[in-house]
Assembly symmetry: C2
Homo-oligomer: 349 residues x 2
């Protein structure tokens, strides 16, 4: 019997993957380190395997070479007949599927932890593709209890299609850890240490689960994506506006764009082409973050687009220009409650 | 007669170049904007020409394609016979030399302003290659007076060889504007607006100079590079340590490295390979910033390496672990006084 997401079987085959995006440096350097020093990933009941997921992109210090590896783990790509002209990441996804999968089978690894960085001020954010996955809910809850000073949020990501495509979808269960802000291609000591400590805590949690520890039921906040709105662009695809600097200082997950003509005004859109504020064709100011996560007002915003980075100091500043209806909308739609039912592995049942 | 650096002739042929590094987005988007809207660069006595310096690297959102364009404007590269196999940036440097030079001749543009971003927390920093260039000293002084709330420092860069190689060295006089922190490939509204305003001020200063305004003598601080020390690396070139997180919070321009084994300790070096602190082979903690600028203690550090970024809030925190001798050394060696003799163009003399 497989230990699929709903299963309570111990997780004995675990992998930690870094460098899935080759310019997200904490995972790149941690994977390299663990490949030389695997002892840090050992626990009494299992030894996690370190994997440098995209070595060519890592060597080039780029997100990917031919296509995004973290969008390539679909059964279509994984099952296609290999040809010499395949994109590099398709070949690499097939190799990783052989190593850690095959996806969707009983031979697949029990758990993949995939490590990422972002320029956005996410802090620590776990991304789970499996809806209301009790193991992942408890894992995040455990990290929150272990690190009360470091906010750790759970983002429940639902792929736009019907099929998962991420690195961690190859294993029976998995999760991604996103840590920011850190510029691409840059290694910050503080984030490196944070990620290293969080991986250790995650492996500790798996060990406790494997030992049969009982984790009592609880409820927690879970974040979801309410939608994506692109930046305004020229026909060539170049931006004609960017996130307003007042928004980057605020606490709100909603958005506003600043164009490049005319004075900066809060919660307004200015477009290069028309030189007029708020043309009818522009997106509404309250929906202008691509990939952003709407959050309850008491939490700082969690955004995944490159221009969402905010420093903690910036988050403390007031945001007088944000429209009231944006705030209400954010409050209403943000929260989903995760029901973490009692969790206990079968090993001691 | 040419208006070479020491000359007082009006500057009538001026260029503003962005995207010399293709992933430094403020200059990229400003150049694109001005190419469509050149009026913003016009002044009564001249019209500055906008140039997107490295379009291929910009399209790829990379620093460069084959080699760093901003290291390619030497007479050797510019004078070499073109072949189809030339690196892209060598071809492009020769094109730009035809457009804005030829370098070292009377036909060259009078002034090039080259726009850059960095992940480091430089704030606004002007980089001048010409030693004690009175025009550039007055230009920086003017910006300081115009923008008292925005620190603007002048870094006097002396190329390691005898020959200049930067984009702005093609014209008779020139300067680079470095603005940070901003992740590569990311456009921040605040920095975009700052750079746009600073370019406007620089063109205003040139216009005042051309009109014959007299700028009285003054003295100012000028920064210089005291040396470069590489990170500790493996034989493969991978880092084995990074700048200590306590240094990124401190006000000191000196440095310390944090390795990836053992607890983080201030002003100490830890290396992966030995798992011991401060091996004899390691660099001294006080010289561990590559490309960093030593600054007087009352100023925040100005660093050009990717892992020097600090937020303003971080700079306000104490730095108890920095050794006293590092501070003293920083104090002694940092300051160079720029003598800005009275400046007035010949047009009204």
């Amino acid at each position: 019997m497989c230990s699929l997401p709903g299963s309570r079987k111990p997780l004995l085959r675990v992998a930690v993957t870094g460098g899935t995006h080759g310019n997200e440096m904490c995972g790149v350097y941690l994977a390299r380190y663990w490949l030389q020093n695997p002892g840090e990933l050992q626990r009494p009941s299992f030894s996690a395997m370190p994997v440098l997921a995209n070595p060519a992109a890592t060597a080039a210090c780029r997100r990917y070479i031919d296509r995004d590896l973290n969008r390539t783990f679909t059964l279509t790509f994984l099952g296609s007949t290999a040809t010499p002209d395949d994109p590099y990441e398709v070949k690499r996804a097939q190799e990783l599927n052989q190593l850690l999968g095959p996806k969707g089978t009983c031979q697949a690894f029990d758990f993949i932890l995939d490590l990422h960085n972002t320029t956005a001020n996410t802090g620590a954010c776990l991304i789970s593709e499996v809806s209301q996955n009790p193991f992942n809910l408890h894992l995040c809850h455990y990290l929150q209890l272990q690190n009360p000073g470091l906010p750790c949020r759970l983002f429940q990501f639902e792929p736009p299609g019907t099929e998962s495509y991420s690195m961690d979808s190859v294993s029976k269960n998995g999760i991604s850890l996103e840590l920011g802000p850190q510029p691409q291609g840059v290694l910050r000591a503080e984030l490196f240490s944070q990620m290293r400590a969080m991986v250790a805590s995650i492996l500790d949690f798996i060990e406790l689960f494997n030992q049969g520890m009982e984790f009592p039921a609880f409820e927690m906040e879970v974040y979801k994506n309410l939608g994506s709105v692109d930046f305004p662009r020229t026909t060539d695809g170049h931006l004609t506006g960017t996130v307003h600097s007042r928004l980057q200082m605020g606490k709100l997950g909603g958005g506003a764009l600043q164009g490049w003509r005319g004075p900066a005004q809060p919660a307004s859109v200015y477009f290069l082409e028309t030189a007029e504020p708020n043309p009818a064709s522009g997106p509404a100011p309250d929906t202008a973050i691509r990939g952003g996560l709407e959050t309850p007002p008491e939490h700082p915003p969690v955004g995944f687009t490159n221009i969402q980075t905010k420093s903690p100091a910036q988050e403390e500043k007031p945001q007088p220009g944000i429209r009231r209806e944006d705030r209400r909308r954010s409050r209403r739609e943000v929260l989903r409650t995760g029901h973490g039912c009692m969790l206990k592995s079968e090993v001691c049942c």
